[in-house]
Symmetry: C2
Subunit: 417 residues, 2 copies
């Protein structure tokens, strides 16, 4: 049986335990929603104050050069590149995940122009909805169909009608992890290009885009990269495509010489052409602080050490839920094979998942809920302790034993999480 | 002859003079580049600290509801709407100017589907380049041509081949102000739709989108709205189009019920469908502070009082430049009719505009330079004093008399302004 003391002991010997000090976490809260919004890095407050008072306030427009603002999409992009197996200059921070998906999926379909038998964009039915909305829009505007299949059926659904495959590596509902290498290889065998959304993997699952031979990748900055609410997203393009790919959001920041103010668009070399408008500096400053909290794991083992702790945390949570009384009727929806899941555990409650999640928040345990019946717990290894997992499951037990989920007083309104 | 004392006297009696106190401006600097990056509102520092430490740090993901994050694109949008003659719910803050242009120009061309004789998007040759790059991309993807004409020739170039007209109200180089009412009417008479870019007008020129019967408008947050570097942009859609217009960047924030996580996209009612990804909260907080600095003029006359002061400032600058010695060979490139210019004065130097601009920065007078020969001075009436204009022109005289522009020691590198 797993005791609270054994969890405390695991925290005492955890070589990554000190990384938690990078974050300002409120007392009395167990925060298991880092898969929706990562915690606040302590460095953000001072860095933003400097950016506001010194750079914007004192140096004003000159800061585009003197404070390096104009370089930030590349500088922060190079830092994220180190976390996802990409090289310097290959990855840019810009716009939102949805917009970057629009760019790269359009670029992928344009690369397939001439392959007239390719009439399909293939994705997973349970992909994150915004990805599906964008994929449907891009497919339609190219006269193609968006074909949706179950997550387990992606590889067997590949054939030469597929122009591009668009998948999120870690499923937002279940936490199920796709095999990037296998799917990318299978897609390439039929001549399809592959776009990977790393929203729930960057910063928590080791990703090696070059080793997987992926074509395009996008991802968000506000989950496991701890970049703050609505942080800018990123876009990666394999070097074999970067110099030839074209995308329709051809704004001045993607121009080869934006300050020449030429009438004609001439795309920048490489991934820089996937930028569009003026970069959002204040949000970029916060995102850089967030990415730095992940890079701070390098001296203690980097992404692979984070992954090992993530697996240990999700395994512990599953084991503790398994030990709860059968009458609570909870089901683990996340794959039990640690190699097939991200840093998230999803629990099904048969009828009142939303109310249970609300009652947990009233106890200071912040997870979230996804339609129709999933309670999600994100377990970022940078700041989640083993004892947090233990205590969270005790609160789940308490909410269910005491029927607190039936009581509206225990609920706070928290629709968006 | 205009004396420094007369300018000081104008500042003493200026009913808008107190608005300058809203800004943290550095000592020893005359900042005439608010048309590129507005000055820092004093409120930003504390508001951002709250957003970071209280909302993000303490309340974490719950702040999407408890701090009203999810409503911010509409709340700040409604404030901007008041400055441009739009109603509540008609204008959203989202993405960048370039991306919003892509959305609305695509929406305009989709509204013209079926009008097969309409084969052209019409714009001005000297429009801001990113607008031209996006317009060319959108036109091409609809099988249309982008036709560029001189700014004075827009009205006479209108015919029934034109699907949409895309113009920036105030020219970024010369400060020339288009007649929005006349051009919109003329375009409608031939059945064309009109997209207005308000980048250099929102917050400084009275705009009345509904009175002008415009179709779509976009604009940026970081110039005269004082929203900070790379602040989010805005998009406005006339109510007659909002419920039927469709745009291709169909991300989840434009969905009618984003948190139902439906597989199918169903656009939100109204302009909300022009949102795409998760809104950038930290940047939105700063932008709201900036917009509030403009709304603070309401008790002393609002946009019309700001416009009157803006005209007085630009007129003063032109008069002072006219009084400089002919041997300096400076030319005013901005229209001398105040009704035909924005809040900017552009001066041509025959050979070394860039070096003169750099030498002025070395003296603490920050303007900027635009290829090939234009020195731009932006004069935001919220914080520019008459004596600033006087002193700036004396510095121009000094730089030219002493030949400081020939001396590299007087220059700082400030390519991006």
């Amino acid at each position: 049986v797993i005791t609270r003391e054994s969890c405390l002991e695991r925290d005492r010997v955890d070589p990554l335990a000190g990384l938690r000090e990078q974050f300002a976490l409120p007392d009395g809260v167990i925060y298991l929603d880092g898969n929706s919004l990562g915690a606040l890095p302590r460095s953000v407050d001072a860095r933003l104050r400097d950016a506001v008072t010194e750079d914007w306030g004192r140096d004003l427009v000159l800061s585009w050069n003197t404070a390096g603002w104009i370089e930030m999409p590349q500088v922060v992009g190079d830092k994220i590149a180190r976390l996802v197996g990409a090289g310097p200059g290959e990855l840019m921070v810009t716009d939102s995940t949805s917009i970057n998906l629009y760019k790269v999926l359009t670029a992928a379909l344009r690369l397939q122009v001439g392959a007239t038998r390719r009439t399909t964009v293939l994705s997973e039915r349970d992909n994150f909805p915004t990805d599906l909305y964008i994929a449907a829009s891009v497919a339609r505007s190219h006269g193609m169909d968006l074909r949706l299949v179950d997550g387990d059926d992606v590889e067997q659904s590949l054939d030469e009608s597929v122009a591009a495959v668009m998948l999120t590596q870690v499923n937002y509902r279940t936490g199920r992890l796709h095999d990037m290498d296998a799917i990318t290889s299978a897609a390439h065998r039929v001549g399809a290009l592959v776009v990977w959304d790393l929203a729930h993997s960057a910063g928590v699952v080791p990703v090696d885009l070059i080793a997987a031979d992926a074509d395009f990748a996008i991802g968000c900055g506000y989950k496991y990269l701890n970049g703050g609410p609505g942080a800018p997203a990123f876009v990666w393009v394999h070097p074999r495509h970067a110099a030839v790919a074209s995308q329709p959001l051809s704004g001045w920041m993607g121009h080869d010489d934006p300050f020449a103010f030429m009438t004609e668009y001439r795309p920048a070399a490489g991934t820089a052409r996937f930028q569009c408008g003026t970069p959002p500096i204040l949000s970029l400053v916060a995102l850089e602080c967030g990415v730095d909290t992940v890079l701070a794991a390098d001296p203690v083992g980097g992404m692979h050490a984070l992954r090992a702790k993530s697996v240990a945390l999700t395994t512990l949570l599953i084991e503790l839920v398994d030990q709860l009384d059968d009458e609570f009727a909870l089901t683990v929806a996340t794959p039990r094979d640690p190699g097939r899941r991200g840093s998230q555990v999803s629990i099904l409650h048969p009828s009142h998942g939303y109310e249970v999640k609300e009652a947990l928040i009233a106890r200071g345990v912040i997870g979230d809920f996804r339609q129709p019946d999933i309670i999600r717990f994100g377990l970022p290894p940078l700041y989640t302790r083993f004892v947090d997992v233990y205590d969270a499951v005790q609160h789940v037990r308490g909410v269910l034993e005491l029927g607190e989920w039936r009581d509206e007083r225990h609920r706070v309104r928290a629709r968006v999480t």
